[in-house]
């Protein structure tokens, strides 16, 4: 309910924002810095929730590939020990029938990642190939990325006195060696598919078209937040699967529009302050320099 509410009002705020930006000359340009340079061949993963049987193989393969402790223990949330997990959702159909739904979760590798835009030191970056990667040597542990990410993906290693952020990095080192991400390789049912995002989108659309009734007519991640590298197909509404209802625009667009104006704002303030000083000085000079000028109205 909150998700729905905040989305609805967010859209309305967008109107105010656009007006403000126009008035202040803050052009909200589509080219955001957090966009990176996503190429046409950027990678993606298609998660077909209708094929997932909830075996948790992917989550365990993920742990192993990332050398997380307790390799055999099935995770039930994202944490610094598990960069992926299979969420369990109960879907209540129209006739009241309950359906157990496993939903694999991990970083969505957004096309406009808010975490990248927010990170104080640029430890998070979007690579042209799609993965949103993390340079642990830069991170100061401010945890702003945790608040910026709409999916609650970055996790902090709380147990470590010098803890760092942990998140799925799309198995970037495996991709560099020409392999699939570990979770995809570990999936026995074909619910996870790896490929270029463009190919996967095309396949997903034709799957929806050629299997009437099997899927709802939406690919989650096609337009959410301006697009994500991980895409989902489902037979039931995504909101019921714990995938939040989101805008089709970058969540960082206002922040970046304002941040880009930093030099202009700074120079304007400095100029205004200098001008104000010059004016008061001049007024004092004109009103006889020895006498402290008597200000009207403000002191009583």
């Amino acid at each position: 309910m909150n998700e729905v509410m905040s989305r609805r009002t967010f859209l309305k705020h967008a109107g105010v924002g656009a007006a403000v930006c126009a008035a202040g000359g803050l052009a909200v340009q589509p080219a955001l810095a957090s966009e990176g340079t996503s190429s046409a061949n950027a990678w993606g993963v298609l998660v077909d929730l209708t094929r997932c049987n909830g075996c948790d193989s992917c989550a365990l393969a993920c742990k192993q590939a990332n050398q997380r402790p307790e390799e055999d223990q099935i995770p039930n949330q994202l944490s610094s020990d598990s960069y992926s997990f299979v969420d369990r959702r109960v879907y209540v159909g129209d006739a009241g029938q309950e359906q157990q739904m496993p939903v694999k979760r991990q970083c969505m590798h957004c096309l406009h990642p808010a975490c990248v835009s927010a990170c104080t030191v640029g430890a998070l970056t979007k690579t042209p190939d799609g993965p949103v990667v993390y340079d642990s040597s830069k991170c100061i542990g401010c945890r702003y990325c945790q608040y910026a990410c709409p999916f609650g993906v970055p996790t902090y290693d709380w147990a470590n006195p010098l803890g760092l952020i942990h998140k799925c990095q799309f198995c970037i080192s495996r991709l560099d060696e020409g392999e699939q991400p570990a979770c995809v390789a570990g999936c026995p049912t074909g619910a996870l598919r790896f490929g270029t995002r463009n190919d996967l989108l095309a396949q997903a659309h034709s799957q929806i078209d050629s299997n009437p009734g099997r899927y709802i007519d939406q690919i989650y991640g096609e337009s959410e937040l301006g697009g994500t590298s991980v895409l989902y197909l489902s037979g039931v509404p995504f909101a019921a699967m714990g995938l939040p209802t989101l805008d089709s625009q970058s969540p960082s667009r206002y922040a970046e529009a304002v941040m880009r104006k930093t030099p202009v704002i700074g120079l304007t303030v400095a100029a205004l302050a200098s001008g104000a000083y010059w004016l008061t000085k001049r007024r004092e000079f004109l009103a006889q320099p020895e006498v402290v000028p008597q200000e009207v109205n403000h002191d009583r």
Partner: protein, 393 residues
């Protein structure tokens, strides 16, 4: 009538706060500082997980809340520097020094709180090495660092004037010579990071409740920082008078409070207008804790103080209550944005740990104690007649 008020005020001051009490206050603060230092060291050694109740679903707690709140209140430094050095409003001259000293004390506290909260405090300097100019927190970090430097320069005459060394006078003249550009730099840096703290929340459209989330957040944060800064400026001047047992000029407090209240009315219109235009007034009328907090911020902490300060028949006491409410409200606004107005992931909960409380109390007490000692032993409080024009122009 305005002549009688300060006299009565002075009598109250001397009878209500005898010397022994002041020593006890100082001793209590010092004890709080020591306990807080122990708590802080424990946190640094043992880590966030062992010493705080923070978690992945509630990752920022009272350290960040007080941090962002304190930055707004420390707006006393730049607003009063603007009033005194840039706009040269001589009638408020007496209130400039207490405010700028409070600014320095608060910003040092801000830096300490930030270091406590960082997951990698050993790398606090990384924002200087690795740049992400799109990150609001990157800009805020730089501005806080640079502005603390500005505050050191702005407060340096207070220390230099105490020194009886021969070269002190020369240095004072040099500082006085560069004071104007330094003050303008301080106003610029403050405008930037006070507003950018609002921009910080623009990256969280799905986390911050719609009554608070608006693209106007940077403007709102700046406006409320000016309002809180002027109020703190008035209060700092008032308390400084008590610390040194000297009468304050009521017109300084009334005047600053008046400007703060007018800024507050603008802020009120901005907040209310934005929610109405965005069509969110329904959210403000819904029976949620969000709506209650939002109205409390606006009615009790902006509208009511504005009335207390601006309506005819004002007294120092009434004005003081108004100023305190404004300060509390802005502090609360920062806490709301950081904690209470966040739409939390399911199952998220947080109540600060003892170490979080003690370390926070220690840092706040240290700032208060440093400020009180500064006011007591440095040439901070001026009665207004003998202006140190040579050093403050």
């Amino acid at each position: 009538m305005t002549v009688e008020v300060p006299l009565r005020q002075k009598q109250q001051t001397t009878s209500a706060v005898p010397v022994l009490d002041r020593r006890m206050v100082a001793a209590l603060l010092a004890i709080t500082v020591v306990i807080g230092a122990v708590a802080g060291i424990l946190r640094l050694v043992l880590g966030l997980g062992a010493t705080t109740n923070l978690s992945d679903s509630y990752s920022w707690g009272i350290w960040i809340g007080f941090d962002f709140g304190l930055i707004a209140l420390a707006g006393a430094g730049f607003t009063m520097a603007a009033v005194g050095h840039v706009l040269r409003r001589h009638e408020y001259h007496a209130a400039v020094r207490p405010a700028i000293l409070a600014g320095l004390a608060a910003y040092v506290a801000v830096l300490l709180l930030l270091v406590l909260d960082l997951g990698r405090p050993d790398r606090f300097y990384n924002f200087m090495l690795f740049w992400n100019p799109h990150s609001p927190l990157f800009e805020v970090s730089w501005c806080i660092l640079l502005y603390t430097g500005v505050l050191v320069l702005e407060t340096s005459p207070f220390f230099l004037e105490r020194l009886r060394w021969r070269w002190a006078g020369k240095v004072i003249r040099i500082v006085a010579f560069i004071m104007l550009p330094v003050a303008i730099l301080g106003v610029t840096l403050s405008t930037l990071h006070q507003s950018t703290l609002g921009t910080l929340y623009l990256n969280m459209p799905y986390r911050l409740h719609a009554l608070w989330y608006t693209p106007l957040l940077p403007l709102m944060f700046f406006t409320s920082a000016v309002m809180a800064g002027l109020s703190m400026g008035a209060i700092a001047y008032w308390v400084a008078g008590r610390v040194v047992h000297k009468p304050v000029q009521p017109r300084v407090i009334f005047g600053l409070a008046r400007i703060a209240a007018v800024v507050g009315l603008f802020y009120l219109a901005l907040k209310l207008g934005e929610v109405i235009i965005a069509g969110d007034i329904g959210l403000a009328l819904a029976p949620t804790h969000y709506a209650a907090l939002w109205w409390f911020e606006l009615l009790v902490c902006v509208a009511l103080p504005a009335a207390l300060i601006l309506l005819p028949g004002k007294t120092l006491q009434r004005t003081g209550i108004g100023l305190a409410l404004i300060i509390f409200g802005v502090l609360m606004n920062r806490f709301d944005a950081t904690m209470f107005a966040q739409i939390l992931p399911p199952g998220a909960s947080y109540s600060p740990s003892l170490i979080e409380w003690l370390s926070t109390a220690g840092i706040l007490a240290a700032a208060a104690l440093a400020w009180i000692l500064g006011v007591r032993f440095l040439p901070i409080f001026e009665t207004g007649e003998a202006d140190h024009h040579a050093t403050t122009e």
